[in-house]
Amino acid sequence: MGGGAGTVRTTTLSERLGANRFEIDEEESHIVVDQELCRTTGTGKAIIAVCPAGVYTERDNEIVVDYAACLECGTCLVVAAPGALTWRYPRGGFGVNFREG
């Protein structure tokens, strides 16, 4: 379209996340998954699909959580089956710190 205009240079998810400022809480994760419930309820697949930050990946039939990349939207929590996911906000000051918003 537009006389062969090219597409925008692709950014990868990690490049986009890399542009953000995060204050990582090294002591505690604000996300905990119940592996068994994630498998049996389909929660694992759902949270992998909806998370815009790619926090959740699957490795060896287990959900791996990269909580440091969390954008704190809470979308995973609303698609999770009861008990499959514990998600709260990081402690005060920690987590993503928007400079734009």
Binding site: M1, T10, T11, A49, G92, N97, F98, E100, G101
Partner: protein
């Protein structure tokens, strides 16, 4: 948690320094009450994100002429609605000076705008406490035998107040903790995925046809989001806010990943004229509760009220999502009702009932009711894909001279309909439903 006894440390604790919290705190302090505004971020706005459009009329009633003083980006004077297919676009382009005088919509970046608003509250005497996460509310058994909120738990601290205002956003753990809100169904929820990209000011003005502090808001539906939800592209002073809003039930059903849909949007050739050579500045996401009027439940209990998104106040009209103006409207209603309740010494649910009444009388609930059918209308899937194809097909037949003898417009339209899955009957039915819902 249940505690007993103790005098309140403040008249009011407001949790969350977004527009809802800061305006509530500001108005309460103005009426002489002692107010603490507790914010999880190290600074107000650090945890906050929105698509970027603030309908400013209501804030202008609180701070007249705010747009001249506050760090707003651009005044929206041009609204473009685009139906996109893989290789074509049909746009409706509305531009008017009437959109800037009186002020209508401005773009904002929350990490810059929210500190200004919180600063206004501080200036009125509000005690701002940043970097503190409120974990839950403290309750005691009230005189009516029901739970009464008497303060909050924040780490090891338990500040107490006559009234707690939960302005803690769409996920409102405070409202959920006391059962004021349950779990929302996924057809009431959407995820917004957004990027802010840098572009020189003059380039923005050239590409979007703007001068001075004029701004453009593009709403985009169709192929750019693979038919799931819609996209937006807004101009800031020297950056663009762009992204997608995807309804969770549609997203899960599609088998796509949110990241994948966002990247498809970013790379869509239809957007390339606006987005080439941009530099990524920030990436974020936000949960959008778009259940409309049906989603607003109880707004008060003994000692506590909900404002803004925590109260479920969001309108998705299909082309724009409104949150901040409703948040500010609810803040005005809540602050005035809370001040009155404290004045009379009755902060029970009954004493705080004036909040609901004021809200119902204001534009907030009137608009929520006006758009009550919008969520159902937007479930009619034709909106986002088939209509774009129909429209681009129609315009192609009108404008492309391919050697085949021309037909009258009516015949062209009939042909386009024949090729489209959309029937004239369905178009009229959707059109009628749309007129009634929006």
């Amino acid at each position: 948690m249940t505690t007993q006894g103790g005098e309140p440390d403040f008249d009011v604790i407001v949790v969350g320094a977004g527009p809802a919290g800061s305006v509530t705190a500001y108005r309460l302090a103005q009426q002489g009450l002692s107010v603490v505004l507790i914010e999880r971020g190290d600074a107000p706005g650090a945890m906050n994100l929105s698509g970027g459009i603030l309908y400013g009329r209501v804030l202008d009633t609180v701070f007249p002429g705010f747009a001249d003083e506050a760090p707003v980006e651009r005044q929206i004077t041009r609204h473009v609605t685009t139906f996109l297919t893989p290789d074509s676009a049909v746009s409706l382009d509305y531009r008017s000076d009437r959109l800037s005088e009186p002020l209508d919509a401005v773009t904002v970046l929350r990490a810059k705008f929210d500190p200004w608003l919180a600063g206004k509250a501080e200036g009125a005497g509000v005690f701002l406490m940043p970097g503190v996460r409120v974990d839950s509310v403290l309750t005691e058994t009230g005189p009516d035998g029901r739970p009464t909120v008497v303060g909050v738990q924040a780490g090891d601290d338990q500040p107490r107040a006559r009234v707690v205002v939960a302005a803690d956003g769409v996920n409102s753990f405070l409202a959920r903790g006391v059962g004021l809100r349950g779990k929302d169904p996924t057809n009431h929820l959407a995820v917004g995925v957004k990027a802010v990209v840098k572009l020189p000011r003059s380039v923005i003005e050239d590409r979007f046809g703007l001068t001075g502090n004029q701004g453009a808001a593009h709403a985009i539906v169709g192929d750019c989001t693979l038919g799931i939800g819609g996209g937006f592209l807004y101009t800031n002073t020297d950056s663009l806010s762009l992204g997608v809003v995807l309804r969770l039930d549609d997203l899960v059903r599609s088998g796509r990943m949110a990241v994948e849909v966002f990247e498809h949007f970013l790379e869509h050739p239809g957007l390339a004229p606006y987005l080439h050579d941009v530099k990524i500045r920030e990436y974020g996401s936000h949960l959008v509760a778009e259940g409309g009027y049906d989603m607003v439940g109880a707004l008060a209990m003994n000692g506590m009220v909900l404002v803004g998104e925590a109260a479920g106040l969001t309108i998705n009209s299909g082309l724009t999502v409104r949150r901040m103006d409703l948040a500010i409207g609810s803040a005005i209603a809540a602050a005035d009702a809370v001040a009155k309740a404290i004045g009379t010494g009755d902060v029970t649910e009954a004493g705080l009932a004036g909040y609901r009444r004021r809200l119902e009388e204001s534009f907030v609930m009137q608009d929520m009711r006006t758009y009550a059918r919008a969520p159902k209308f937007l479930e009619r899937s034709g909106m986002y894909r088939a209509y774009g194809e129909l429209a681009t097909d129609l315009f192609h037949d009108m404008f492309a001279l391919d050697g085949i003898p021309r037909k009258h417009l009516l015949a062209v339209a009939r042909g386009a309909f024949k090729r489209s899955p959309v029937s004239v009957r369905q178009l009229m039915s959707d059109g009628w439903a749309g007129v009634r819902a929006l």
